[in-house]
């Protein structure tokens, strides 16, 4: 942080070593599970970092082999449920955030406060009643039965992030466009939508990320392949035989479910980081 001046060779070396150590700390566990996912069953017992024989067997097992039913259906459930929940959350949150950023009315602070309060509400304290309720009204182990609680996870943060984005949009542009002869709808579409899209998009990624990662609802409110999402399925993995630990398959599955999120976030890193910190810091 301190001086931006010239560093001596020794200092430069020190900082480089430090950076490498820090990177190792962050990435070594990821590299470890990546390496494990390429190990053969026999190889797993060896405490060595790299596999002695590289194999795709673990990936084959969960994608086309014995475990495919468990993994691929869960993957499909996760993607479907998460996308639907994200879409609904973003639509509702856009309306809500628009009103918060644009319109003046009493009780605005209360609404933002409610959204915040809901977002910190411990999931574990409502999961048992939801379980009972869902069993009574037939939502247990269905997509909708997960979409609804996922909305309660994603809506509050979506509202906060979008409200922060919308507050920075120069809404005068809309009036300026109308003065220039555009209709109200044209003005909104041409002037405001392009400015708002990055915020909406970032919010969608954050909402997706949160719903995708959920474990508590996933494991409590599903019981079969009908709706079980990936995180819950990972906990149910069993090996090819009862006596074999499914370590390789679990590692491969963990890699597969992590890749989409990492790629998505890395591509849009800049927007997401600023979105997250705005939501958190600016309030």
């Amino acid at each position: 942080m301190a001086s931006n001046g010239k560093l001596t060779g020794k200092q430069r070396l020190g900082w480089t070593v430090l950076t490498v150590v820090v990177l190792l700390y962050a990435l070594f566990p990821v590299a470890a599970i990546l390496a494990t996912s390429f190990k053969t069953q026999a190889d797993l017992g060896n405490a060595a970092f790299l596999p002695s024989n590289w194999t795709w067997a673990n990936y084959e097992m969960i994608l086309v082999g014995d475990a495919q039913e468990l993994f691929l259906t869960a993957f499909r459930n996760s993607i479907g449920i998460t996308l639907i929940a994200t879409f609904i959350a973003v639509v509702l949150a856009t309306l809500c955030a628009y009103a918060i950023a644009r319109l003046n009315f009493p009780g605005k602070r209360i609404i933002l406060g409610t959204a915040l309060a809901v977002s910190i509400f411990p999931v574990i304290s409502v999961v048992t009643p939801l379980f009972n309720l869902w069993r009574n009204i037939g939502l247990y182990d269905t997509w909708l039965g997960l979409i609804i609680p996922y909305l309660s996870l994603t809506l509050p943060i979506s509202i906060w992030t979008l409200a922060a984005f919308f507050r920075q949009i120069p809404w005068d542009l809309e009036q300026a466009a109308q003065v220039d002869g555009a209709t109200q709808w044209q003005a909104f579409r041409r002037a405001i939508v392009p400015l708002a899209m990055p915020g909406v998009f970032t919010t969608a990624i954050i909402a997706f990320f949160i719903a995708w990662n959920d474990f508590v609802y996933g494991i409590s409110l599903t019981s079969t392949e009908a709706a079980r999402p990936v995180p819950a399925a990972l906990a149910f993995f069993t090996g090819a035989s009862q006596f074999e630990e499914p370590t390789g398959a679990i590692s491969a599955a963990a890699i597969i479910v992590t890749i989409p999120v990492v790629v998505l976030v890395l591509l849009f890193q800049r927007q997401i980081v600023s979105g997250l910190t705005q939501g958190a810091v600016k309030g």
């Binding site: 301190a2 470890a32 494990t36 009103a99 411990p122 574990i124 997250l276 910190t277 309030g283």
Partner: protein, 323 residues
């Protein structure tokens, strides 16, 4: 935040005056009220939904917590007042789970915050490849928590082929069965690893919002790097440090995935935290009443934490508005 809105809304707001309304004004007041509700309309779907989905189940939780309800003994359901609460505080496992929750939360949050501060300071320097290093350092936060927990319990901490044992084996230490001998430590390590990037991002935002001229002035005045950090950076960061601890604590206190997958609360109940113990009592022990009572206690504890965070956030907003 209500003061900086667009002009038409402000005019509408002024209509509510204290003077006695004449007839036309009365209708104006009424239409104003309708207008106010029309303005609130876009908020309603999200808000009503949120309240129904979280608060109705919570009311049910409170209701359950006042009844004796054990799914294994269906005949015994009755109103028992606060006796579930009395029972859970006499339950030594509950007290231990509560203590574990505190240990895990603060252990994880403090260590992750210190590491995150270190990483943020590292990234606040200009160096070649900074963008890539930052991106790579965020990775642990992007790993699905379930995958992260499995990654630590399988690849890192496994007693026979875990890489931690491989690493300590290189310097001649004999293998350790981490998740059963040191379950709390193992869980905290995995959580710290996952949460460090979150702290780093928040604190980096704080560092980069520092006024550069103050730092330059300090270096012109001959302050050492440590003095600059201690007297300029640290006071500036205070808000961000407090915020990262509180936000981190609110999330980490609800940790469930890591306990479930790494130790299953074990050995015995040695590493169960409150969410895990609540889940265990409800879904494996079928004791809905006591589990609900513990849920209510957890909610109260979380609200206390959150109120602290909120006060901090609003204090900073007010400070910014005044300055």
């Amino acid at each position: 935040m209500t003061t900086t809105q667009n002009p038409p809304a402000a005019v509408a707001g002024e209509a509510h005056t204290t003077t006695k309304p004449t007839a036309p004004e009365k209708s104006r007041v009424r239409s104003d009220r309708a207008e106010a509700w029309r303005r609130r309309a876009p908020l309603m779907p999200a808000l009503i939904f949120l309240i129904i989905v979280t608060q109705v189940p919570f009311l049910l939780t409170i209701w359950y917590s006042l009844r004796s309800r054990n799914l294994l003994r269906p005949e015994g359901e009755q109103f028992v007042g606060l006796s579930n609460y009395g029972d859970i505080f006499l339950d030594s496992t509950f007290r231990q789970a509560a203590l574990n929750s505190v240990l895990i939360t603060f252990g994880c949050v403090i260590v992750a915050m210190l590491l995150g501060l270190g990483l943020a300071l590292l990234l606040d320097r200009k160096f070649f490849g900074r963008g890539i290093v930052r991106t790579l350092l965020i990775t642990p936060f992007l790993i699905m928590p379930v995958a992260g927990a499995l990654l630590w319990s399988i690849s890192m901490f496994n007693p026979t082929y875990g890489l931690v044992n491989w690493l300590i084996g290189l310097v001649g230490i004999s293998p350790v069965d981490w998740t059963s001998e040191y379950p709390m430590f193992s869980v905290i390590v995995a959580l710290v690893w996952q949460w460090t990037p979150f702290m780093m991002l928040l604190l980096l935002a704080g560092l980069q919002s520092q006024a550069r001229d103050a730092l330059e002035a300090a270096s012109v005045d001959g302050a050492s790097a440590w003095q600059t950090f201690r007297y300029i950076t640290l006071p500036h960061l205070r808000f961000y440090l407090e915020l990262s601890v509180l936000l981190g604590a609110i999330y980490v206190v609800n940790t469930f995935d890591h306990i479930y997958l790494m130790t299953a609360g074990g050995p015995g109940t040695a590493s169960a935290n409150l969410p895990f113990y609540i889940y265990q009592r409800a879904f494996l022990g079928f004791d809905i009443g006591q589990s609900a009572a513990m849920g209510v206690v957890t909610v109260i504890a979380t609200i206390a934490l959150a109120l602290l965070a909120l006060r901090l956030i609003f204090k900073s907003i007010n400070a910014k508005e005044q300055s």
